[in-house]
């Protein structure tokens, strides 16, 4: 539990006096914790250095080594102290945690050693206070990474071992993803790389003008592609065949074909080989040959296939993607500036004859060239106004271009690091919240577990109580007693979410069916247990129970089965699992509605409900021990309206 809660528990228990006059059921007796022997000073000897502290201090955290009975294992009777053969310097921090509630991380110690000490004393690293937590995590991560690198370097030769019975598909995929695993994969990797290079070079060389055939006069220059069409065609075919084969193999080997089809690399592959096939099926007619020529442009995308081979390209792609908004803003601001200046220049140069500035879009080119300080000189202003605005344009161009670029660079760097840290923190936060929730639910679950284990039964049957019930710490016992008092005060019980939603699901039906069966009948299920807070009324209720069981139990059975629809079919007397009975409200004003609480795992025949004359003893009712949730109020003053649960 959190810091110092144990200190406040007596106060919380004392404050429960405020519930006493309101409680409608008698409160349970307090746990018979043996009176503490007052506060004593314990001596803890850690490798010769003696630490002394109050026993209460150590008792604050009962789920650690020093706070629980585990420390008895280390008790040295002759010297009357607890001896630990551990590092005394580290123990100082551990003991300070008990004293102050905050665990600090020593800066000069090795993180691993500190971790080991924490593990020994039963402290979780999440208890480290906020002041030291960041540093602890950073150092721990550094350590982990360094160790991982060392391991990787060792394992450089051999890749991850494949499970023995892996299929061809898995082996193939692994070969594709990690070419270093086998020689064949490596060979394949290099071969494809070579062919990508060959293909790209061929594309480039194709357009270089070769000397024309000497037969023609005058020698006409042609691109090499037209000079040696067959050679280039063969080379192209070979490359495309290899690429196609590789793509099909990858498609076959991919563990998730849909995902593979959607991935970027596969798209690049398709774009790389598709033009060839389209070109095959399109004949060389003039009308479409223009489109065909355009398709050839896409062959250049084969160069992107290199990104499988190069980590750097992939990183670049990722960074561009993550910096997209910044780039977009740069583009937008540039566009604004271009439009403004183009308009100005156009109107400034409108008057002159034979001017290049024929339209505003034509002036765009001038603006771009001027702003990026290229200055080709194909368009120059001739009027004075044009020259003035032109110079303003070039000056501002410097600013507009130069300013966002460092911003983008620094933005990128900042965003990248921030993302990394934010992800880290989010993951840690989730874990922390989960732990906190776990601790909270752990408390509740401990209580629910305690109830379910029959811990609420009379203490008279102490020997039969489950071991786990007895082994709770004094703190837990008292806390559970406190929660139990609250339950008694309000006549409601703590449950967990699951059972609550189940109960809720059947309640709404319960009301409907109960009204539909008979006005005076009270819904009672097999083995239901009434615990009411109005003793006078229950007698009458029990009588009505006996009359109405048949129809009602059927009704309630049906509710258990169908959560929707109200067909009143005859329900089989099947086992009902732990659904709450359709209970009516706990009406403390003693009107005609009943409070039925039933936890069943065993159905009972309808004839089971007793007549009023025999109030079942609490003990027998409590023997619904095989019920999962036991709303058995096992206190001696249980009001006599419990319906017996008899097992089949």
């Amino acid at each position: 539990m959190a810091a110092g809660v144990a200190t406040w528990l007596p106060f919380a228990r004392a404050a429960a006096v405020g519930w006493l006059p309101l409680a409608q059921q008698p409160l349970p007796p307090a746990p018979g914790v043996k009176a503490s022997r007052g506060d004593e000073v314990l001596v803890v000897n850690v490798s010769g250095r003696r630490f002394e502290t109050w026993k209460n201090t150590l008792d604050r955290y009962p789920d650690t080594l020093l706070g629980s009975s585990e420390k008895e294992f280390f008790y040295n009777a002759e010297s009357g102290e607890y001896f630990f053969d551990r590092d005394p310097d580290m123990f100082r921090h551990v003991l300070n945690f008990y004293r102050t509630g905050r665990l600090h991380c020593p800066r000069q110690e090795c993180i691993q050693a500190f971790d080991e000490e924490l593990a020994f004393y039963g402290l979780v690293p999440e208890l480290i206070g906020d002041c030291c937590l960041e540093e602890y995590r950073d150092r721990k991560k550094e350590n982990a990474e360094r160790l991982a690198e060392d391991e990787e370097a060792e394992q450089a030769g051999d890749g991850p071992a494949l499970p023995a019975g892996s299929s061809l598909r898995q082996r193939l995929w692994r070969a594709f993803e990690n070419p270093h695993t086998s020689t064949t994969a490596l060979v394949f990797y290099y071969v494809t790389g070579f062919f990508i290079a060959v293909s790209v070079i061929a594309n480039v060389v194709e357009t270089i003008p070769c000397r024309g055939t000497p037969a023609r006069r005058p020698p006409r220059e042609q691109p090499c592609g037209d000079r040696f069409p067959n050679a280039f065609f063969c080379m192209d075919t070979a490359c495309v065949l290899i690429f196609t084969g590789e793509y099909l193999l990858r498609l076959f080997a991919a563990p998730s074909r849909c995902r593979f089809l959607r991935s970027v690399m596969s798209l690049i592959d398709i774009v790389a080989i598709l033009p060839y096939y389209i070109g095959l099926f399109v004949s060389k007619k003039d009308d479409v040959s223009g489109a065909f020529v355009t398709l050839r442009v896409f062959r250049v995308f084969r160069i992107f296939k290199f990104s499988r081979h190069s980590q750097g390209l992939r990183i670049l792609g990722y960074t561009l993607k993550s910096c997209a908004s910044e780039l977009g803003f740069l583009l937008f601001s540039l566009t604004m500036a271009i439009i403004i200046f183009a308009t100005v220049m156009f109107y400034a140069e409108k008057g002159t004859s034979k001017t290049n500035f024929t339209s505003i879009p034509a002036a765009f080119w001038y603006t771009i060239v001027t702003m990026t300080t290229l200055g080709y000189g194909d368009m120059v202003p001739s009027t004075i106004a044009g020259k003035i605005f032109g110079s303003i344009c070039s000056l501002s161009g410097v600013l507009v271009i130069a300013l966002p670029v460092p911003v983008i660079v620094s933005n990128f760097s900042r965003i990248y690091h921030q993302n990394q840290r934010a992800d880290k923190r989010r993951a840690q936060q989730k874990v922390r919240l989960a732990r906190i929730r776990l601790a909270k639910s752990g408390t509740t679950n401990a209580f629910l577990q305690y109830k379910q284990n029959g811990g609420l039964e009379d203490n008279s049957s102490g020997e039969e109580q489950a071991l786990c019930v007895r082994n709770r710490s004094a703190f837990e016992q008292q806390h559970h007693h406190l929660l139990h008092c609250l339950e008694k005060t309000t006549c409601h019980e703590f449950t967990d979410e699951l059972t609550f939603s189940e109960a809720l699901g059947t309640i709404s039906l319960g009301r409907r069916t109960s009204r539909s069966t008979s006005v005076s009948s009270q819904p009672v299920g097999p083995g239901s247990m009434l615990s009411s807070c109005c003793p006078r009324r229950t007698k009458r209720r029990a009588i009505r129970l006996a009359n109405s069981t048949a129809s009602v139990s059927r009704g309630s059975m049906q509710e258990l089965e169908t959560l929707a629809g109200l067909q009143h079919s005859s329900a089989p007397q099947s086992r009902s699992s732990l659904n709450a009975k359709p209970h009516d409200s706990l009406d403390l004003n003693c009107d005609s509605r009943d409070f039925v609480a039933a936890i069943i795992s065993i159905p009972t025949p309808p004839a089971n409900t007793p007549d009023e004359s025999q109030p079942s003893s609490p003990g027998s009712a409590g023997r619904a021990g095989n019920t999962l949730r036991n709303s058995n109020l096992g206190t001696p003053c249980l009001l006599p309206e419990t319906v017996k649960i008899s097992s089949l």
Binding site: A2, G4, V5, T7, W8, L9, P10, F11, A12, R13, A14, A15, A16, V17, G18, L20, P21, L22, A23, Q24, Q25, P26, L27, A30, D39, W54, N56, R99, K440, T443, T444, H479, L483, L486, E487, T489, T490, C491, H492, E493, F494, T495, D496, E497, T499, F500, A503, L504, I507, C533, C534, A580, S585, L586, D587, L588, N589, R629, S631, C637
Partner: protein
């Protein structure tokens, strides 16, 4: 002509000042530094002998109590926020803040907004070591929210709702809206002798003394400390 004093600036001046603050980034008030001042207030309780006289605890018990108290609240006092936080740790499922407020007001006998060690120990002494009548008195004081000597139905309803809030959402049977109200009705039926709609301290004590369960349960908490 009077110069407009500094304290009532013209709207223009106000706008100018906020603009200036916006530009220089000092728009939000600095609350962090202010808090530092408050937390250094320290409160020391009276001496051990005096507390021994005033309460029914033994010396050792007072020592243990104070050590725990001082450890948790080094400044010597508990304010309402801390109190609520501490109390909520015992009831993780529900919302105990309202009831904690009522408790805080019951402990804070001099109504200065904080519970010092003397208040704390005085309250505990009544609950744990006082006579039955003392404890009933204390409970009555807890219920009587406006401390006027009688409990009305509204006060009782508030108290009841706060107690039911502590149960949380996941209860069995599910909490209905009318449950606190019905509980209040039954309480008044039991306690309000003359049916005038309020419960006075005499009626309260008298009715409680007649109730076996309550009398017996009062003994439950004797050995808490």
């Amino acid at each position: 002509m009077n110069r407009c004093p500094r304290r009532c600036p013209s709207p223009l001046g106000l706008a100018a000042r906020s603009f200036y603050q916006l530009v220089t980034g000092s728009l939000s008030p600095d609350s962090v530094e202010d808090e530092f001042e408050l937390s250094t207030v320290c409160h020391r309780p009276e001496g051990l002998e005096q507390l021994q006289e005033q309460t029914k605890f033994t010396r050792k018990e007072l020592q243990v109590l104070y050590r725990g108290f001082k450890n948790e609240c080094p400044s010597g006092i508990v304010n309402e926020e801390n109190f609520k936080q501490i109390y909520s740790q015992f009831f993780p499922q529900g919302d105990s803040s309202t009831y904690a407020t009522f408790l805080f007001n019951a402990f804070d006998t001099n109504h200065d907004g904080s519970v010092s060690f003397e208040d704390f120990v005085a309250g505990l002494s009544v609950i744990l070591r006082g006579t039955i009548d003392d404890r009933l008195n204390w409970a009555f004081n807890l219920y009587d929210l406006n401390k006027d000597g009688c409990i009305t139905k509204e006060e009782m309803l508030d108290i009841m709702k706060s107690i039911y809030d502590m149960m949380g959402k996941y209860t069995y049977p599910a909490l209905r809206e009318e449950a606190p109200r019905e509980h209040v009705e039954s309480f008044f039926q039991k306690m309000d002798r003359n049916k005038d709609g309020v419960v006075t301290i005499e009626e309260f004590i008298e009715s409680c003394q007649k109730d076996e369960n309550i009398m017996r349960s009062m003994r439950l908490f004797d050995n808490v400390i």
